[in-house]
């Protein structure tokens, strides 16, 4: 949310925190890197890199199948991350935590194994106007296959979902509602409690795309009550190559598997195959083992700082950024929802986002220009692209000020 924290964090020391991230010391053509593309992916703390490196050097073996000690240790370390994830998002059971490659694969898994078999011709899948392509395309694909209809809950000009209209989109044909917790293009935090409540009243299951929420907010499956929650490690200070699907146990148990192969079966003959129990039913083949170790270390790291501290510090940063940016002539913030996370998109009259980002890059400032894999959001605002700066708790007020100075240079060049 946009309000400054009530108690400024005294325990949170951004200078100290920055030392944990080797990449923050990089120079870009001689200028210190100002990394403001955290929505795309975050940098990694040494603790994560060391955990993976150490794992490969001293405990590496394939998991689940070895009867020797090294493999047992590897399996334990791997499975520990499942428990860490469970605790981090307050899932009810470790079986509800499925390892996938990332948010995209997670949503595809749910689309394929949950929604697809339940979709009939004429049924509806409901998404929202601010979804990332990862939460659009898989649904388009299965809707096309099943001749189902993809419907879209609209948003208003501030980038706020029109939740008042939600009821008219929830029909007895709706088989699933899919919504981002936080919009990656606009920063909007969606009112999940209301949304999930309305959907569940109609018996409609809800998938939440948590890719942009987990790194910034306290996320609690018990409180949310959603049916599926999906997110990526690489956006939450963990390694690439791994992500999570949380699913309610009853639903996962009733689902058919996704990919076939080793580990997801309990016995195989050429005639008949029996699938394994949860969570393994959904984890075919050798998983991303070292990546799980790294994700575990990232969760430890985040919990040591505390998600509340992270959230309040980021909110302070965001408030500062918005205040300063609002002073810049011709600059327009895209997305003005009241509840926001530390992402902001903007455009400048007459200057294309791509040019802005190129000029900022020469100042060492990494921001994103483009449609942010949310082309429908761009279409809605009738713009080809925006510049997006997305903050992390390791960013500083000085970095925001560097961004502002950079933007003035842009204005200067384009005279």
């Amino acid at each position: 949310m946009l309000m400054p924290a009530k108690n400024p964090i005294t325990s949170f020391d951004v200078r100290k925190v920055r030392k944990d991230f080797p990449a923050l010391e990089l120079l870009i053509r001689g200028k210190p890197l100002v990394y403001l593309d955290n929505g795309a992916s975050t940098q990694k703390p040494s603790a994560v890199l060391e955990a993976m490196d150490d794992f490969y050097r001293s405990r590496y073996a394939n998991v689940h199948r070895g009867v020797y000690e090294l493999s047992e240790k590897a399996t334990q370390s791997f499975e520990e991350t499942r428990d860490k994830v469970k605790n981090f998002i307050h899932a009810g059971d470790r079986k509800e935590i499925i390892f996938v490659r990332g948010t995209t694969e997670g949503i595809n898994l749910v689309a394929h194994s949950f929604a697809r078999p339940r979709l009939q011709e004429g049924d509806e899948v409901l998404i929202t106007a601010m979804e990332h392509h990862a939460n659009i395309v898989p649904w388009q694909m299965i809707c096309a296959e099943k001749k189902a209809r993809l419907r879209v809950v609209p948003m208003d000009a501030t980038g706020t979902l029109m939740v008042d209209h939600l009821d008219s989109y929830l029909t007895d044909k709706t088989r699933i509602l899919c919504v981002a917790h936080v919009s990656n293009a606009l920063g909007t935090i969606n009112p999940l409690e209301t949304i999930i409540h309305k959907a569940h009243r109609m018996g409609i299951p809800v998938l939440v795309d948590g890719a942009q929420a987990v790194p910034h907010l306290l996320v609690d499956m018990q409180e949310l009550g959603c049916d599926f929650y999906v997110f990526s490690s690489h956006k939450m200070y963990g390694p690439t190559g791994i992500g999570i699907v949380y699913g309610k146990k009853e639903l996962l148990e009733a689902m058919s598997p996704y990919q076939g192969g080793g580990d997801m079966i309990s016995s195989v003959t050429f005639e008949k195959t029996t699938y394994n129990d949860l969570p393994y039913k959904f984890e075919a083949g050798t998983p991303a083992i070292a990546e799980a170790i790294g994700l575990g270390a990232a969760i430890d790291y985040l919990q040591a700082i505390g998600m509340e501290s992270i959230n309040s510090f980021e909110n302070e940063l965001l408030a500062h950024a918005r205040e300063e940016l609002n002073k810049i002539p011709k600059l327009k913030l895209i997305g003005e929802a009241f509840c926001r996370s530390s992402i902001f998109s903007f455009t400048i009259d007459g200057i294309h986002p791509h040019d802005i980002a190129s000029i900022l890059d020469r100042e060492g400032i990494a921001v994103r220009a483009g449609h942010h894999c949310a082309q429908p959001v761009m279409d809605f605002f009738k713009i080809p692209a925006t510049v997006r700066a997305s903050l992390s708790f390791y960013n500083t007020r000085e970095e925001i000020d560097a961004l502002v100075r950079g933007i003035y240079k842009v204005l200067d060049i384009f005279g």
């Binding site: 791509h354 040019d355 190129s358 000029i359 220009a369 483009g370 449609h371 080809p384 240079k409």
Partner: protein, 151 residues
């Protein structure tokens, strides 16, 4: 700053803010759409080709300063040229913006297009500068597919 000034020279800014030959050709003989998925730049090119040479050209689309200036200057540079001549010109232009043949003096033959020399310091902007050319060549071949700068 000098690299940036070199990239955003006055002529580029002028053409990006006041692009020439914008619009449609009622009697186009050739047409193509171009798209750069990375930054969302779009360009549509209409051609009137007669006897193997380009009689007229118009474009529509939105893009960054580099891509808009590129298509605007392109429309001026290619009138009266044949497909073969255009291919040769694009070859030189491509070498210019990618920094190949750095000191070969080739840019002399490029006329106004030499203003894009600064792009060589910005490898990520090469696609912005070449999208219109890829689209032009696609139009000449009357390719149905949307042209992109991906290979």
């Amino acid at each position: 700053m000098s690299e940036l000034r070199e990239l955003y020279q006055d002529m580029i800014l002028d053409h990006s803010q006041h692009p020439r030959n914008r619009g449609k050709l009622e009697k186009a003989t050739h047409h193509a759409d171009g798209f750069n998925p990375l930054c969302g730049d779009k360009v549509k090119i209409d051609l009137m080709v007669d006897n193997g040479t380009i009689k007229d050209i118009r474009f529509e689309g939105s893009g960054c300063a580099i891509s808009t200036a590129s298509v605007s200057l392109l429309t001026e540079a290619i009138k009266g040229k044949s497909e073969r001549e255009i291919e040769i010109l694009f070859g030189k232009f491509h070498d210019l913006v990618t920094g190949k043949n750095e000191n070969s003096g080739e840019s002399d033959n490029l006329g106004k297009l030499a203003v894009f020399q600064g792009v060589r310091e910005f490898p990520m902007r090469v696609k912005c500068a070449t999208l219109s050319w890829h689209t032009l060549l696609a139009a000449l071949k009357n390719e149905k597919k949307v042209a992109t700068t991906e290979k």
